[in-house]
Symmetry: C2
Subunit: 490 residues, 2 copies
C-alpha cells in the first residue's frame, strides 16, 4: 500500500502536517492562522481537559469565566507586561454591520467603539481588574481560579496546534496573602503539568526555571516543562509564573492582613494549551501514523469483522458485536467498524493512521476457534487470543502500551541529551544530532543572546534537579554554578 | 436579619439582578455587556454542560471546534441569514498594537486587515464552508457535530445571563442525505433539550414550532422549548432548526447519493446557552435566594458545626467532618464550612442565598444524641435526624426536592396558562396576571405583528401537543385550526 505520509527522516515538518491532517485531527480554516479541530482531534483534547480539570480540582481550584475582550487601556497598566508581551492582537474597533448599497454587507462607520477592545491574548489584566472587587481581607484569600478559554495571538507563521492565531487553553490565576504561598502555588502547578505530561501523555519532561530573558512579561519567575520531540527539538509544554505583586499593584488589589495592615496581593498564573496536541503527535507517532497513549486515545480498541460473503458477514458482525459489548461493559473505549463500504485492509490502515492502541479482527476461522486476532499499534505485534481472556488481556496490554510509550520516549530523550563543555562541540552536535544539551552558562543575558543569535538554540530552563556542579561557561569561560538545558525549540 | 434581596413582588427585575450578584453567580465586567461568570455560577454551568454533553454523545454526536472569527463576506452568502440576522457584531479590523509616542499603546494603523473578521454570533457560515471539504459521498453522511463555544452579539440592553454581549453556548450543526433525516434530527434535539430542562433543571417546558416570522434567519422551520418564569413572562430556553438546503446551497456543499446523483446536503442546527442559568434562577428561587435542583447544585449538602467555645469547636468540627466524609463517600457533593471567621447564622443565610438543597448543622447536643439537624431549602422544613440513617435520608430527600421543584413549577405554569377567546380579555389578563395564553390565531404575519405591536406579547410557539380544535382568531375572527401559545417574553 502506498504510504500516505511523508517519512519522518525525509521531512519531519511535512510528516507532521500530513499526519495532523490525514489522521483527522485538525485542518486549516478559511481564516488565516485559525484551525478547525476535527472531532477525532477534539476527542483527544477533551480527554486532556478532563484529566487536567480533575487534577486542578483535586488541588483546590475552581473554574470561572472572564470576558473575551479586554479594553485596550488595561494593557498599558502593567509596564513589564505591555513592554514584553507581543502586540500582535486582534483588535475590535466596530460593533455593527450594515447592508451595503452595492449588495453584501459592510462595517457601519457610525458604530465605532470609543475604546478599542482586544481579543484576549491572555487574561491577567481583566482578571486582576476583577479581583480588585473580590478581595478586601485575608479571609478572601487565596483565590484559586482556573478558566478554560480560547485566546488569540496574531502569529505570522502558523502551524496546526503548535502555533495558531486562535488556540484553546486553560489559564489559572491565583491570589495569595504571601509571596511564599504564591510561589508554592506556581511550583505546585508545574508539578501538576509534569505529572499530566508523564502519566497521561507518556511524555517525559524536564522541569525548571526560565532565565530572566525568557520569563513571561510581568512575571518575577517563570517555570516550564520541556519535552524533546523526535526531531531533536525541544517543546515548551506548560508554564507557571510567580507574578509577585506586579498585577496587584497595576490594578490596585489590596487586602487587610491579620494584623489589620493593608498589603498588595501576591499572584501566580499558569497555563497549557492545544499545543500539547502537537507535542503528543511528535513524541510517539511513526511513519504510518499516530501512536496514541491509551489513556488519551478516543478509542482504545477498534474491532474489524472479516468476511468474504454475506453469510460470513452476518456471522462475523454478530461475533464482533458481542466482543464490542463485552469490552464496553468492562469500561474500555471501544469502536466496532462493521461498515460494508470499506475493506478490512483500508480499515487497518486507517486505524493505524489514527493511532488506535489495539486492533481486533475476527473472521470465520476465529469464530470456529473462539479466538480473535489482536494487534498492538506501538510494537505491531500480533497474536491470536482465546476470547475468554479478552478483557484481562486488553486491560494488561493497554497498561503495557502506556508504559512502553513512556519508556521509549524517555530512552530517546536520554539518548539525545548531551553534556557538553566546548562551544565548538556544542555547535557541531546541535547541527549533526540536535537534542537537549546540558552546558555551563555564565548567567548573563549577553551570553544567552549570543548563543541564540549564533545557533538559534535557547536556554530552555535551569532544571530543578540540576546538581551543584561548578564549571565554566562554554562560551565565555566565566564561572557557572550548574548546567542549564539548551536546545533549539518549537 | 435584614433582607439582602429586593422582594420579588416589589420589583422582580431588581430581585433577579440582586440575586445573581449576591449569590455569587455572575457580575458585570469592565467590558460593556460582557459578564464574569463567578465560580459558584460556573459550577452550575459545568453541571449543565456535563449532562447535555452526555445526552449529545448518547444520541451519536461528537464535539469539534471551529474558528472564533468569520470572514465578513461569509455573512453575505446566505440571503435569508444576512437579512434576518442581527447585524450587531464585534468587528475585528486590525491585528497589531504599538507603543504610542504619548505613552500607553495604540492600534497600529499599518496593520489593517484586508477583509474584516466578525467575532462569531453563530457558526453556520464558517461550519458549512468547512463541511464542503468533508462531504463528497453519502458515505460521509450524516455529520453529527456539536461545538461548545463563546459567541458575541452586540446587544444594547444587557442583563446577566439573559442577554449579554458575549455568552457561552453549544451549537450543533448536522449534515444529512435527506430532508427527513435532517428534520428528525431537529426534532430529536428539541426532545433532548426538553428532557434536560425537565429532568435536570426541574423546569417544565412547552415544545412547539415557531411561526415563520420568529424562525431563525435561514431556517425553514424552527422549534423551541418555552418556559414560564415566576413573573409571568415566557423564556425561550432552547431552539433547534431545520435548515433545509439553504446553507448547503450558499456554500456549495453537495454529495453523491447512492444512485450516483449529486445533491445538496440537508442541515439542522440547535443550541442552548448560559441563558439557561437565568431560566433556572427565575423558575425556582425565592425572596431569600437561590433554590437549586439537587442535580445541578454545586453542593447538594452543606454542613455547619455549632459551638460556643474552643473545646466544643474541636468536637463539633470533628463530628461534622465525619459526616462530611460519610456523605462524600456515598457520592454526594458535600461541603463542610468549618470556618471560625463566620458565625453559624451568617453561614445559614449565605447557603440559603446560594440555594444549597440540604443544610446539616450539629452541635454538642447533637453529638450527645448522635443526631444532626437537617433543613431543606425548598420547604424550609427542619428535622432532627439520627445519624445512622444519614445517607439514606439525604438520598431520598434530594430526590424529593428535585421532584417537588418540578411539581411546583408545573403547578405554577398550569395555574398561569389561560385559554382565552376574546382579544379584549386577553389584553386585560395579560396586564393583570400575565402567563401563558392559549388562543386562536388566523395564521397571518399581519395579525401576529398587530398582537406584538399592541400588547408586546408574541406567539411563542405552536405547541406540538396542541389538539386539532377549530376556532376563530381572537383578533380577526378568521378560522384557526388550533390554539397557539402567546406570552410576553424575555
Amino acid at each position: 500500500m502506498a504510504k500516505v505520509l511523508t517519512a519522518r527522516d525525509e521531512n519531519y515538518s511535512q510528516w507532521y502536517n500530513d499526519l495532523v491532517i490525514k489522521a483527522d485531527m485538525a485542518e486549516n480554516s478559511a481564516v488565516r492562522g485559525c484551525m478547525v479541530i476535527k472531532p477525532y482531534g477534539y476527542s483527544i483534547w477533551e480527554k486532556m481537559q478532563a484529566a487536567l480539570d480533575q487534577m486542578f480540582k483535586d488541588t483546590g481550584h475552581v473554574n470561572a469565566y472572564f470576558p473575551l475582550f479586554i479594553p485596550k487601556s488595561f494593557f498599558s497598566k502593567e509596564a513589564d507586561h505591555v513592554e514584553g508581551f507581543a502586540k500582535e492582537c486582534a483588535v475590535v474597533t466596530h460593533y455593527r454591520l450594515r447592508t451595503s448599497e452595492k449588495g453584501g454587507i459592510e462595517v457601519d462607520p457610525d458604530a465605532k467603539l470609543e475604546e478599542e477592545l482586544i481579543v484576549r491574548p491572555t487574561s491577567e489584566t481583566i482578571i486582576w481588574n476583577t479581583y480588585r472587587n473580590w478581595i478586601q481581607s485575608y479571609r478572601d484569600l487565596p483565590i484559586l481560579v482556573n478558566q478554560w478559554a480560547n485566546v488569540v495571538r496574531w502569529e505570522m507563521r502558523t502551524r496546526l496546534f503548535l502555533r495558531t492565531a486562535e488556540f484553546l487553553w486553560q489559564e489559572g490565576h491565583t491570589a495569595h496573602a504571601t509571596a511564599q504561598e504564591a510561589m508554592a502555588e506556581a511550583r505546585q502547578m508545574l508539578e501538576v503539568y509534569a505529572t499530566f505530561a508523564q502519566e497521561w501523555m507518556a511524555m517525559p519532561v524536564i522541569k525548571g526555571s526560565k532565565t530572566p530573558t525568557e520569563r513571561f512579561a510581568g512575571a518575577l519567575d517563570t517555570f516550564s516543562i520541556e519535552a524533546l520531540m523526535q526531531d531533536g527539538k525541544a517543546l515548551q509544554a506548560g508554564t507557571s509564573h510567580f507574578l509577585g505583586q506586579n498585577f496587584a499593584k497595576a490594578f490596585d488589589v489590596r487586602f487587610t492582613n491579620k494584623q489589620g495592615v493593608m498589603e498588595h496581593v501576591w499572584a501566580s498564573s499558569w497555563g497549557v494549551s492545544t499545543r500539547l496536541m502537537g507535542a503528543l503527535v511528535m513524541t510517539h507517532s511513526d511513519d504510518d501514523g499516530l501512536v496514541l497513549p491509551p489513556r488519551l486515545a478516543p478509542f482504545q480498541v477498534v474491532i474489524v469483522p472479516i468476511y468474504k460473503n454475506d453469510e460470513q458477514m452476518e456471522q462475523s458482525r454478530a461475533y464482533a458485536s458481542e466482543l464490542r459489548a463485552r469490552l464496553a461493559k468492562a469500561g474500555f473505549r471501544v469502536k466496532l467498524d462493521d461498515r460494508d463500504t470499506h475493506k478490512p485492509g483500508w480499515k487497518f490502515a486507517q486505524y493505524e493512521l489514527q493511532g488506535v492502541p489495539i486492533r481486533l479482527a475476527a473472521g470465520p476461522r476465529d469464530i470456529e476457534a473462539q479466538t480473535v486476532e489482536l494487534a498492538r499499534r506501538d510494537t505491531r505485534e500480533k497474536q491470536s487470543l482465546p476470547i475468554e481472556k479478552l478483557e484481562a488481556v486488553v486491560a494488561e496490554m493497554l497498561e503495557a502500551i502506556q508504559k512502553n510509550l513512556f519508556d521509549k520516549a524517555l530512552a530517546r530523550t536520554q539518548a539525545n541529551t548531551t553534556r557538553v563543555d566546548s562551544y565548538q562541540e556544542f555547535k557541531e552536535l546541535l547541527d549533526s544530532k540536535g537534542g537537549f544539551f546540558l552546558a555551563h552558562w555564565d548567567g548573563t543575558a549577553e551570553t544567552e543572546k549570543r548563543i541564540k543569535d549564533e545557533t538559534k538554540a535557547t536556554i530552555r530552563c535551569i532544571p530543578f534537579d540540576a546538581p551543584d556542579e561548578p564549571g565554566q561557561c562554554m562560551v565565555t569561560g566565566q564561572p557557572s554554578p550548574r548546567r542549564v538545558l539548551i536546545a533549539r525549540a518549537y
